[in-house]
């Protein structure tokens, strides 16, 4: 651990104490609600969701990027608008504003990346009955469980840095149908999404096609029956869920973007397991893991592969396991996480492997509404070069859901 990181830990402890005994301790509230319509059938609620981080990394700065890096920034900085009219129609709209997020999963960028405002989610949700819902708009697609977990309710600091699907962000535009069957023990999901956008298709992709996903899970004990999952239920539920998903998009990328030949399909699959079990007087145990494979039909072997078919979000496979334990009498949760990913080609290295370890703790002042998280992670490369060197990161994060 670097000197910078030790200083950071001290600062984190001071911050923790300040929050414990300071005026913020009792300040968390739900967002304001507006009711409207006949019989007050309409409800509109506004939430603020913020995750403010202090990041200390033992490398990334200086001329040869081996000096330590210190940064304050927002990981998430959102305003969410949730609405409902009656039992069958609801909306969810969420904005994001971040600026200069220069400390990225594997690098520290040289230049300020600037501010970025986006409409993160904008979805209209129709509920026919418990067995059939339809979502339309921009929202999370149905592949990995962890991407579908509520961003403000993870077990560890954040979701995996490596499981994102290619050519999209964590959200996509499209239509999804989903529902719960067999007394909520079985959930199905199917979506048709934009996938690689039509704009990029005109320039570098073989065709403009939709992306198709299918996901299902079996959930025992207390059911997980919402569209979104959680990384921890803070001991309020007993959950055992096993799930899996596939995703497909034809003609997603060229293996030779110069000659515009050798078109490749995109195919992904994942399987996941989640367990949370509170034991009275002992505490809450949480464990979860998933395997994911992103396949672009070996586009990386082409003469000039699409740059998005390789790299962090390109062809890869890997898994994560994470586990946590929450004390019975104190809202303190300790956690650990391990990930191992093989990348077809990453920063010029073929068959690169990354192992990622993390330990940390969450302290819940007001559940997920006000939470302090500290996490130390280590990122190890199988093959090191000038741009891929092992590093450690210490993050302290204050989360406010207001």
């Amino acid at each position: 651990m670097s000197r910078n990181q030790r200083t950071g830990m001290t600062a984190s402890l001071l911050l923790c104490l300040a929050i414990l005994f300071g005026p913020l301790a009792g300040a968390a509230h739900a967002g304001p609600q507006v009711r409207f319509g006949t019989d007050n059938q309409g409800i509109l609620q506004i939430d603020y969701k913020g995750q403010f981080q202090m990041i200390l990394r033992d490398s990334g700065s200086g001329e040869v990027k081996d000096d330590s890096t210190a940064s304050f920034n927002f990981r998430r900085n959102r305003i969410a608008l949730m609405g409902k009219y009656g039992k069958n129609v609801s909306i969810y709209v969420q904005t994001e504003y971040t600026e200069n997020q220069n400390v990225t999963p594997l690098t520290v960028s040289d230049d300020d990346s600037g501010g970025n405002f986006s409409l993160l989610d904008a979805v209209i949700r129709f509920r026919v009955n418990d067995a059939f819902h339809v979502n339309v708009g921009k929202f999370k697609y149905n592949l990995s469980r962890e991407n579908l977990e509520e961003c403000l309710a993870p077990l560890t600091l954040d979701r995996s840095l490596f499981l994102r699907a290619p050519f999209v962000t964590t959200r996509d535009r499209g239509v999804a149908a989903w529902g719960n069957l067999l007394a909520d023990r079985f959930q199905y999901r199917a979506d048709v999404m934009e996938g690689r956008s039509a704009t990029s298709s005109a320039a570098t992709a073989p065709k403009s096609s939709f992306r198709f996903s299918g996901r299902a899970h079996v959930t025992l004990l207390d059911p997980e029956n919402n569209y979104g999952y959680k990384g921890t239920y803070l001991g309020q539920k007993k959950v055992l869920t096993v799930g899996g998903a596939v995703q497909y998009e034809p003609d997603a990328a060229f293996a030779d973007t110069v000659a515009k030949t050798d078109s490749k399909d995109y195919m992904a699959w994942t399987a996941d397991l989640f367990l949370e079990y509170p034991v009275e007087g002992i505490g809450t145990f949480t464990a979860s893991g998933a395997y994911e494979e992103i396949d672009l039909d070996d586009a990386f072997k082409g003469a000039n592969p699409d740059p998005d078919a390789i790299g962090l979000n390109g062809e890869k496979n890997g898994y994560y396991v994470k586990a946590g334990y929450m004390l019975p009498s104190l809202p303190l949760q300790i956690f650990g996480r391990y990930e191992k990913w093989d990348f077809a080609s990453l920063d010029g290295i073929f068959d690169q492997e990354i192992q990622w370890y993390a330990v940390g703790a969450n302290y819940y002042f007001r559940g997920q509404n006000l939470k302090l998280t500290m996490e130390y992670s280590k990122t190890n490369f199988d093959v090191e070069n000038a741009t891929s060197k092992d590093f450690g990161t210490f993050v302290t994060q204050l989360q406010l859901w207001f």
Binding site: F285, G289, Y291, N317, G318, D342, D347, N385, A386
Partner: protein
Amino acid sequence: MRQRTFQRSSLIFVMLLGGALVPYLTLWGCGGGGFDAPTTTSAPALLSPQTLKTWVDEGKVNGEGYDRVVILDVTTKASYDNASIGHIPGAQLLDTGSDLFQTRIEGIAPAYGMVPDGSRMDALIRKFGIDRNTTIVFTTSSNQPIIFATRAYFTFRYWGFPKECLKVLDGRNKAWNAAYPGTLTAVAPVVTPSTYGVRNLGALNAGLRASLGEMMATVKAASSSVVIVDTRGSDNAVGVGSKYSYDGDFGTTAGVFLPSSPADYVVFEGHMKGGKALGYTSLTDAANNDRFLPVDNLVAKFGAIGVDSSKTAYVYCRTGVIASSEFFLLDAVLGWKTILYDGSWSQWGHISGDSTKGGVLDSWSAWRTDTSALSSLIVYNADNTLLVEKIALDPAAVQMYSNTADLNANQIEKEDAEYMSGSGTSGGGTTTGGGGGGGC
């Protein structure tokens, strides 16, 4: 009692599930596994003719995809085109007459045989169809020494190519011909040019090259962690020829700027202060197609002059070509730290401040190398009635750079770094495709 029994059974349930979780996911992880990495990059830097023949037969030479090979025959056009000499099928000509060397200003005067500038490198890279997936094999004609192939290795290393992308054919075309007689050809391949360039490689490996100012500082510092290696040879260390500049034999270092006839020479002979002689021919096996000695023998040979894995070896010769052979062995085969002094003795031996011997510098110039602090066994060629080639100083550089440690006086590396970053003016050329850092 009932409650306690329930708690205990719940805990056992959780522990059993948790215990099953880790091996379950670990098994999943093993199921995915890695991806196919290129096989050519993992081959040894000193490539056997047998391995290269396999790549030729597999269609990898001038092929397509992520595991392709380009063979560069570093020779003269006359040798390349001559059917009786020939080249390996698919090999392209890297012309020693026009491609590999460039006269460029360094310090206060033009220097011969320097690394080519960025625009020239980009033109070569594109002409040869080299891209991010290419493994490059350097060789040379049977009638040329291996040093031209290793000089190309140094040049490409300097310009940022990763070590694993560059190979040298052990024993050059001579060893190939011995293994596969009758397969050399005079037919040149038709190659599709690439759009690749040095800027795709990320950064210049300037640390592998010593400029004149850097070499002077190194000699003066006389660090115990540095060994200066004169690869031209000496009476006690086999080299090229039978008379050695290292030993102070006059008339051994020909001039480089004027026509070869009438014969002329640098101002003085000798060697850098503290330099150890290790002629490159002592590292090859003449009875085995001039292939390099086995690693154990190389370690012993370098060890005898104090070079080991803990030291930095500065290698030099006459024009930086011979020295590149030992640079290659240290950098690629042994993996030890080495730096090539590009100007070598054709630059060093010219930088004299004695006007009575043909020197053109002022006697008090900080750049002069014919001093006891920098050179040993100094013998002036003019004292032996030999014609001395006078260099033409660059008047502006003389005015600007009185300090040999001035970083601006390292014009070549400064200009090349600027070219790499896209701000340079040497040539134009933009590159497309790929991304910074890596690839081969």
